[in-house]
Symmetry: D2
Subunit: 224 residues, 4 copies
């Protein structure tokens, strides 16, 4: 299981986040996080999972898995393959890669079977409550309208985080809530933790930053 | 709100279920259900909602709506239009027309706004629990492997019905559970009610039956 | 078959385009087009096809069909049902309702079987050429970036229309090309015809206009 | 560019086709194909592209790419990343991973930009003709009803191969046609070549075979 509080950095398909450049970025994140108490992880494109897992020391999540098994599923992401390549977990149902509810349930179940940490993305308090009933390890609340923006959900809509934490607790208290969308600074992180979350999921704020090290150190400071 | 116990008959795109033939079928269902205490409704293709609502006396559900509003949504099913055409409610997320969890949440919310009864289909106990958190009026549990078959879920997998009823009660006791998949006889219906459901959702068992009246009377007897 | 040159007005899910208001709009279009040589048709939501066909006199297209037949296809649009309800044709693959290439091919074939005019939407010269090989009655080229905007494709990117007309002619000369996206004025229409198209497909320019009659008369004048 | 005639083996998500076992399979294929004139390639899950490219000597295709660029596309397959990982080409629109026609066109264009060989799957003569207009390097005709079966399309429906070859030639003579679905033996391969194709795309016939070496040698003999 991933230690908490944690910061998961979603590399998406950013130019800075794949292949050799992606590995350099990860090396920078490793350095920045050394000595900090927060756990840092990256969510990588499947094509880079093995490379980043072997050459880097940060835990690697997949950005997506399909709820399939062995067989005739061309172009799908097999949980077993992602696990063997070195991933410790996976995002599921990111707003840029939505799944049906049946598939989310099946994907969470497949993660349990093969030993991957599941982190399901949601978009509001109701869907957070719904996903909690499926029993993933984490869920990350990300109001789509705030993704990629400059205002953190923890500032703009704190009630979505606190409301999700509260509803999730009633339904399945083992599910940890992460705060996504618009997180940029240590202050945003501190606020997210204060609202009851176990960490943050963020992307552009780190990956496309001019000074990745500085941003990362600031974010980690927010956990302390 | 739809009275319960109820029997919702999904006309799908069966040859017997659209246009003039569909209306004849509905007239037969009306006759068969006269004097019985169970509420009968049909889920029609959008193209027939107005026709069936005006010419028949059974409540008409849509088989699907899209969580959209006024605007540029070519080929989508606008909740307001379905309502104006005479529908009293709609199925959402049928196994033959799955939605993402964000869209299910939004579709349930749109139903509330325009005054349509929402009935969300689920496929197992976990997804029933998840959907309950979204607060629809009804949910219909239909294990996909039993849909269209000859064995009722209430006989083959009674624990899916009783388990759904129980989990749903914990999460949102206002949500009524229907039993779907494989229901064919009054005995299946009686069993479904005994397991705690508020009725059944079925399709081929009625729509493609040789003697629709007889089948319908048998099903309704199961409610008494 | 639809007479050409033609103007197809896509009602989408605009507030002005469904139910009673939609019928009023159609009555206005009928009046505006009386005495003009161009053929006017509307593309309606499935829920309104029967109503608009019976109460109005303009030919009605569906905004979408699914390439399915009789059977278990909940929430799908059956070509036979659309035809029985009074539609003369259908849009296929609108940019707001994309299909796979296999499904476009199957939908065009289903239109031929049931006697519906098929009009497949494309987004550039290459996809126009591709669709021509599937043999629909019409194709409508609509660069997505211009849809809903104020600049007509016939002005902004005339080479997309002339290029489509040319490529389509090489592959299947029976397929007629319509010009979509951004058409607002009679001048745009005249330009579209000049570039070799058989008419236009448009939406917001008419449906959301303050003075629908005036806009429609202007568009029709562009055909003369 | 891939030499022809060629045999592309789609590893799908078969238990024998990913990670360490997948590499062993590839090593066997290399041995079997040594000294034969036909070109053998594998289509791998993205997660294995780098591993198979570095440790094996057969050209590696991706099973899928998304028509996206750098940016916010979580869980998507970036063409640049697949290329950097060592892939020489990619399947597009496999029947188990269908795309819209707009996306197929865009994916073929992206392949040209980054230098990947594109191989678009089709399901009949009409869609083969349509895809030819998009100008991929290869297309592979696979009638879905024959995929995974025991009867080769070249025996069961030879007119689909010859018809595709003929129509494709008229539209874009640079596009090479591969024969997919149900290919099992050297005789099937020989027949496919005789019908005008440039090779075959197959999966279960090799990947799940008891004696992979023997099957592979038989297939390659069909090219001679």
């Amino acid at each position: 299981m991933l230690k908490t509080p944690c910061i998961i950095i979603n590399l998406k398909t950013y130019q800075q986040g794949y292949g050799k450049k992606g590995l350099e970025l990860i090396k920078g994140l490793e350095k920045a996080s050394a000595g900090h108490k927060g756990q840092v992880a990256v969510a990588a494109a499947t094509v880079d999972i093995k490379y980043f897992s072997e050459k880097g020391s940060l835990p690697v999540f997949s950005q997506h898995i399909d709820p399939v098994g062995f067989g005739a599923f061309t172009g799908h992401v097999l949980p077993e393959a992602v696990k063997e390549a070195g991933a410790v977990g996976t995002l599921i149902n990111h707003s840029e890669r939505r799944l049906t509810i049946a598939d989310i349930g099946a994907a969470v179940a497949r993660c349990r079977e093969v030993g991957l940490i599941s982190c399901v993305c949601t978009n509001n308090v109701d869907t957070s409550a719904a996903v909690a009933a499926l029993g993933p390890d984490f869920l990350a609340v990300e109001p789509p309208e705030l993704i990629g923006g400059n205002i953190s959900v923890s500032s703009a809509r704190p009630e979505i985080i606190s409301g999700s934490v509260e509803r999730v607790r009633t339904i399945n208290e083992k599910v940890k809530v992460l705060c996504g969308a618009g997180v940029k600074t240590g202050k945003d992180v501190a606020k997210a933790i204060e609202l009851g979350s176990s960490g943050v999921l963020l992307a552009s704020g780190v990956v496309t930053a001019k000074d990745v090290m500085a941003v990362m150190k600031d974010l980690l400071a927010g956990l302390e």
